[in-house]
Symmetry: C2
Subunit: 382 residues, 2 copies
């Protein structure tokens, strides 16, 4: 069983002020973005082996009593060995989570925390997956839920959000417009921003702990993930730091963040050795989940990747489509965002920097994408 929780508090990225998760602030009093404070060490003794899903690592999460945790039956996600272009990869199938996306790890924790402190109405802005995930957990908690989405997004995701009984607010304009409108909304409901609440990142960090358990209490050599605002990168960095400081692993896995070439702000900053990330927009991408023009936590991302001796790669729309098709032909039907990571893995494999314990995270289900038939026909032909 897990010892007393040692949940890390929240720290301002600008002035360093600290808050408890229960304060539910989405930005510092100075206006700065919040991040998770450095994690407490995590060892096997902190794992609650009677639990599956995020609460198995409750010791590293905001404190919510067991009876107050909102659950949809989160199983441990599969880790599937495959060969891609003659190189070995371990696919972490996050699409097997309840709403079909890794975001469930974060939503489970955020909604449990909000429910625990008495919040009854929540809202978020989302390109789709985070909105569906928040809607599902809010439904399970009996909360009202409002989701701001770009009206142009995949109809499959919008249908799913409505299916959970949430109120959809389609916004003309892009993802950033949806975020502005959500942030500017008056009064209730509470803005449960998956991009701004560190409790969300804490939930997603359970992916790192789970990988460590999947591999027999060892770290993978390399983890390849798609990067939009970078929640996966930050969450994995947090988890592996906690494991290393507990002596549970002896080195940090190399974190490889993969971007679409059309939305490669992080890559541009990385290549030129900068410490901050500025906006960059070279056009649209079929990978909705990495369509961020400017990653919110750019500086933190760069530092986390550097600390891990990782890298930032970009892939073309053509490479994303090819990876999507080839993944399907391995039996994994994923959304284009997941294919971004696989396309990145191919780059690594081509340069012989992939190893046989390289993990590639498949972030979401292909069932959500619902491409127009013509577009899909083109993508899957040849």
């Amino acid at each position: 069983m897990s010892p007393a929780a040692t949940s890390p508090p929240v720290a301002c990225t600008v002035c360093g002020a600290r808050y408890e998760h229960e304060r539910l602030v989405v930005s510092c009093i100075c206006g700065g973005l919040l991040e998770l404070a450095p994690p407490a060490p995590l060892t096997s003794e902190h794992v609650d082996t009677l639990e599956t899903g995020p609460w198995r690592y409750a010791a590293a999460l905001p404190r919510v009593p067991a009876a107050g945790r909102v659950r949809l039956g989160e199983a441990r996600t599969p880790l599937v060995p495959v060969r891609i272009d003659g190189a070995d990869a371990l696919l972490k199938a996050e699409y097997a989570l309840p709403t079909g996306s890794y975001k469930d790890r974060g939503s489970a924790v955020v909604v449990s925390l909000l429910h625990h402190v008495g919040v009854t109405e929540v809202m978020d802005d989302s390109s789709g997956n985070a909105g569906a995930s928040l809607a599902a957990y809010a439904a399970a908690a009996g909360m009202r839920c409002v989701v701001y989405v770009p009206a142009s997004n995949s109809s499959g995701k919008l249908a799913q959000i409505r299916g959970y009984g949430a109120e959809l607010r389609p916004i003309g304009g892009d993802r950033a417009a949806a975020m502005r409108d959500a942030a500017a909304a008056d009064g209730a409901p509470f803005y449960a921003s998956h991009n701004r609440m560190p409790a969300f990142i804490a939930g997603v960090s359970t992916l790192g702990f789970e990988l460590w358990e999947d591999l027999g209490h060892a770290a993978p050599a390399v983890v390849v993930v798609p990067a939009g605002h970078g929640s996966l990168v930050l969450a994995l960095a947090h988890a592996f730091r906690a494991l290393r400081s507990g002596g549970s692993i002896d080195r940090l896995p190399r974190l490889i963040a993969v971007q679409a070439q059309t939305r490669s702000a992080l890559s541009a900053a990385w290549s030129s050795g900068r410490d901050e990330v500025t906006a960059l927009d070279h056009g649209p991408t079929i990978a909705e989940g990495v369509a961020a023009v400017r990653p919110l936590y750019g500086g933190q991302l760069l530092r986390a990747i550097r600390e891990s001796h990782g890298d930032v790669l970009t892939v073309t729309e053509h490479e994303i489509a090819a990876a999507l098709r080839d993944l399907g032909r391995l039996g994994h039907y994923v959304e284009p965002t997941s294919a971004v990571a696989v396309a990145g893995f191919r780059r690594l494999a081509g340069s012989n920097t992939a190893t046989n314990d390289t993990v590639v995270v498949l972030t979401g289900s292909g069932l959500k994408s619902a491409w127009p038939d013509a577009e899909m026909g083109e993508m899957f032909s040849g």
Copy 2:
């Protein structure tokens, strides 16, 4: 670890002739349908505790060496307690399987068996879920796959089948026409009929074994499932017989088969005490998975339900839509076929025959349905 396999062979439902699974016949030489022969006893000692997914119960499955098993990373599916209309239910979330449907249990076993004996091309007819599942496992095995589908089916499912690289053959006309066309196709590929290969039912029977493990090596009191051709009913009956004959459980769970009122051939036979089922078609249903006009294994279904002291219920389209909406509002986004079972549970709960270890099987993901917006708006309003 599991002892030597005691896989039951296949028996003809008409003349009783027996075949080994490896013979790969889809009907008896006399023309009769094949079924699984009575199962060998199953106890805890037969469970391969190092495995998850169907092969955890390899002792009860066709013999395929571990190295030849085709895997997509099948996790144990969640069993989630909920309250519906004031009654307790345990939702078995089969939508968490790799392709989003319980059919993966059967496809994993069928494709492994076919792969093991050297088959390289397969085909099936399907309303969608079985086709997607076969396509995924065939892809993982490197097999060519052809799927005959009614052209009018959910576009989400058709996109998924194509996503796995399978060749779609859309058939004008209904589900039965797709089946006739598939059966009449010349030569290769092999007709890997999920409705006719007992190895498919053997795979699905692992749901019963898993429920028994989920409940701490006990049988649930009642299991509620949607019934089309009845593969779930037959598979659960098979599993629970194996567990009872091994002394692993002391009574058979009551099997409650739920049909759409418009496709209630089984119910009509049940109510009038007949031993066989004749065709019945009172119009369409939104629940594609239970749209069978005449269950292929009608007599077997009736006997299995009777032996379990179970029941057959029918539910209206309105009840299905209401259950679908209410399930979403509990955080479970499922296809209408799953809602059929929940609507059936409500009938039980209303008659006080549900107990607090009543399992309701959620067969497939709502992400596959992709209802037209207008229809969906209507379904989810109010």
